[in-house]
């Protein structure tokens, strides 16, 4: 039986006034907190952020390390 693992995803979002795309979302994530954060990225699009969250959830489900 596989061990339980806990994933963690933190999104820090802010608005850059005056930019053509105002959203900034800094994402730090891991699919297993015991291993520490696996990746950090910044996105500027709502759909891209949603896709990143969905991909992370799939990785958590499959106990997969993010690319």
């Amino acid at each position: 039986m596989p061990l339980d693992h806990t994933g963690l995803l933190i999104i820090r979002a802010w608005v850059e006034q005056g930019s053509s795309k105002r959203l900034r979302a800094r994402i730090r994530l891991t699919t297993d907190v015991a291993a520490g954060f696996a990746s950090e990225t910044t996105l500027a699009d709502v759909n891209a952020v949603s896709a990143a969250v969905e991909a992370w959830l799939q990785d958590v489900l499959l106990n997969r390390r993010p690319p």
Binding site: L8, I10, W14, E16, G18, R24, T30, T42
Partner: protein, 227 residues
């Protein structure tokens, strides 16, 4: 008595001793916390009964230092009288920097830059710790901007550069920090460095997000760029 939450026992030894973060949690709350509240926060997925049992177990495993700083009663836990925590001082520093007219000369120091350059409990993933860490991160980012501005106004350009660079390092795609750095260079008359800092930010923004800097920061270097 003074305990440092950034890089002393509160960051490392407690984990090794198996104290489950009791001392850190109390230090960050900075007030008495009921046993029920601390048990529910530190063991959010456990039943109330199991959470209380875990708390009792953790308290029994507090290391020697923690036993001197944690006051335990039948109903609640708090820091012992006289314990000073550096995160408390650091938060006060940020509030003074962010509120005009409340600063001290000693706030414009290397120590202030060093304090504001440090993340809180960076290797902790408990929900309460992550929230506290993010709260501190936001505070310190804004405080570094303010510190850079005050140091610039005082003509201490080298220190102002350090403060602005610390803000850039903490959040590389946050334009406010890059703008602060450009302003420091402009204030000291270093036009080449101002332009270089801007170009560095522009290249980073293009590479990471395929975006251009806003007109606000572009206006700072408008007169420096070649036609």
């Amino acid at each position: 008595m003074r305990e440092a939450i950034f890089d002393s026992f509160l960051k490392r030894a407690d984990r090794e001793a198996g104290g489950e973060g009791c001392a850190q949690f109390l230090a960050l709350r900075d007030r008495a916390v009921t046993r029920t509240a601390i048990a529910g926060t530190l063991w959010p997925e456990a039943s109330e009964e199991h959470a209380h049992a875990s708390l009792r177990s953790a308290l029994s495993r507090l290391n020697e230092i923690e036993r001197t700083v944690v006051r335990v009663t039948f109903q609640d836990l708090s820091l012992a009288d006289g314990v000073s925590i550096d995160i408390r001082d650091a938060r006060l520093l940020t509030h003074r920097l962010l509120n005009p007219g409340t600063g001290r000369d000693s706030d414009l120091s290397d120590q202030a830059i060093a304090t504001l350059s440090v993340d809180l409990l960076p290797d902790w993933y408990d929900e309460w710790a992550v929230v506290e860490a993010e709260d501190w991160r936001q505070l310190r980012l804004h405080a570094l901007d303010a510190l850079a501005e005050r140091l610039t106004a005082a003509g201490r350009y080298a220190d102002a550069t350090s403060a602005a660079l610390a803000a850039v390092k903490a959040e590389p795609l946050r334009e406010t920090a890059h703008a602060a750095l450009v302003r420091v260079y402009l204030a000291e008359g270093n036009r080449a460095e101002a332009l270089s800092a801007f170009e560095h930010y522009r290249a980073l923004l293009r590479a990471e997000l395929d975006l251009e800097p806003t007109s606000l920061i572009q206006a700072l270097v408008k007169d420096l760029q070649q036609p």
